[in-house]
């Protein structure tokens, strides 16, 4: 005959308690652990519009044939980790692989003068990509950075249809390796973030800018457009510059001089 009691089964209670604790730890730990490993302090306070990040590209200093900015961006954001799917032609791969920044050489139709420049997301004040995004995944931060929330991007590609600069890319393939600072997955859209992971941990330069400086060209100046004393504001004040597709009145955060 089995022993019966009207007391609750204490062993069982203890087990449930421990199990719940273990589940909670398993759920929460990775996030905590990541922060611990990274050992980097990210900003805790919300972004404000006191800062507007922006860039000036001096095309006179941008060297023909140099791809330092492109290579640095690809490395920084893990684009060089993407692997070409088996069976895909090189030509198609080149058209499908995400490119956040690219080199373009243009020639004036009348004078024949050639200019080199990097083309990237222009971080518009009135971004068409943000207007058209049905879920609001495409958004503009208070500090002027235009980004994609990869949790709400449904991969409709309407933003890519809307961007006048062809600055956005769609991830066409399965992603095996990705850096923690730039998570990506098949089926979402992405573009230049002005190296937001750097800015959010207190740094003030982008990977492309650093690479351009290291290559000795210093064609890219980056900084706070709202701060009159910043290098970029000073440079903008000093040199004539233009917006690409200024006719659209998007008030771009990236400006070009010498084009």
């Amino acid at each position: 005959m089995s022993k019966t009691t009207d007391q609750p089964d204490q062993d069982r209670r203890a087990f449930i308690g421990k199990a719940a604790g273990a589940v909670a730890a398993a759920t929460l730990a990775p996030g905590v652990f990541l922060h611990g490993v990274a050992g980097v302090e990210y900003r805790q306070e919300p972004v404000t519009d006191k800062v507007r990040w922006g860039m000036l590209v001096d095309s006179n200093k941008c060297a023909d044939g140099c791809t330092a900015c492109v290579d640095a961006c690809n490395h920084e954001n893990g684009l060089d980790l993407l692997e070409k799917p088996e069976g895909l032609s090189d030509d198609m791969w080149d058209q499908q692989i995400p490119k956040w920044i690219r080199k373009v050489t243009v020639k004036d139709k009348l004078s024949g003068r050639e200019s080199n420049l990097p083309m990237l997301c222009q971080h518009c004040e009135h971004p068409p990509c943000v207007d058209v995004c049905p879920t609001g995944a495409s958004f503009r931060r208070a500090d002027g950075i235009v980004m994609v929330d990869r949790h709400t991007c449904i991969g409709c590609r309407y933003c890519m249809m809307a961007c006048p600069y062809k600055a956005r890319s769609f991830v066409h393939e399965v992603v095996e390796h990705k850096p923690t600072i730039s998570p990506r997955g098949k089926g979402c859209v992405e573009s230049c973030t002005f190296c937001v992971h750097r800015l959010d941990r207190g740094e003030t330069t982008t990977a492309c800018q650093d690479a351009c400086s290291q290559a000795g060209h210093k064609a890219i100046v980056f900084g706070d457009l709202n701060d009159p004393s910043s290098e970029v504001s000073q440079a903008l004040k000093q040199y004539p510059s233009r917006q690409v597709r200024a006719d659209l009145k998007l008030n771009t955060g990236v400006r070009y001089s010498g084009v």
Binding site: Q95, I97, K103, V106, K107, P134, T135, I154
Partner: protein, 403 residues
Amino acid sequence: MKKTYFSEWGIPSPRYWALLALLAAFVGIGGLSALYMEHEGHWVTGMTNQVVWGTPHVFAIFLIVAASGALNVASIGSVFGKKPYKPLAPLSGLLAIALLVGGLLVLVLDLGRPDRLIVAMTVYNFKSIFAWNIFLYTGFMAIVAVYLWLMMEHKMNPYSKPAGLLAFVWRLALTTGTGSIFGFLVARQAYDAAIMAPMFIIMSFSFGLAIYLLVLMFAFILDDRPLGDVIVTRLKNLLGVFVAGVMFITLIYHLTNLYGTENHEVEAFLLRDGGIYTQVFWIGEVLIGGLLPLGILYHPVLGRNFGWIAGACGAVIVGGIAKVYVILIGGQVFPMALFPEKAVVASGFYDGVVASYSPSLPEVLLGVGGIAVALAATLVGVRMLRFLPTSLSNQDLDPQAAA
């Protein structure tokens, strides 16, 4: 006027099931294609970062546009009070819902993340016409479903007129929304035109009626139901007006573009130098989708022959798909001008050159699957419920029709 009786589609069971099995096979293949593209990623398609919307969108847009057009037959009866059209109305509503379901399915299955559909249904940015369209499309289905019920439930008939009016206004809004997807795109030179919205509306009139007429003739002839030439003549003449309307608005679109020098290059590309896109425009859109059906529909002899009329409807459908292809793909492959005064010498991302795109098989199969879904839903609908009038013979129609 004799009273109209409706009955279920009565073709022999083996034939019905064979038809359904055929459509189900296409639906299945379309579904497998979607699964394949979703599993592998879009690299298996012809789409790239240059041409971001491909063949699935061509089919989806065609079906969505045709869906609202298919409802026109019902609107003419309810809203504009043309009695001969009343017996035609239930099939019109059914086709409208079925075509929309087929089109939306293709659209959704081509998303990068179709699994996140729930996000699209719960998180909105109302500045986006896409977000509006989600409501316009689901609202359309709901309104037409109620409208159908009011029409088919005898006691509720008096309420069908206001419901029909609402459905009519809603369908105009829907196609305006679909056209505005392109009309609001300032970046690309072939789009960014307010005329896109009215163009899509007249396209919907034409494509929707062509599909309607084809389905009506198919259903009636297969089931040996009397189909008089009076009603068919009315419908085919109306189709002719719509086809001419599409050609007219297309002409105006290109003429207004040509008025501005900045658009000469894109117009030269579409109309003269665009290779496959120029061919699809002139041969597919203008010849097959416009001149040929007009010639048949208004021909004194051919225009009375049901076979030729059906052929004209088919031509309108083929031409319609060609038109959407030119708008969608042709508009994307033409390079965007970063610096209008400069030529691109070199680019790491295909600036300044015409992009290449060739549809892949899975894309086409997904699109065809969408059409099969629409037809299968219609087939099941007419078989299960009384959507079809028992007769549309000349004697059974309202005398007003003969006038």
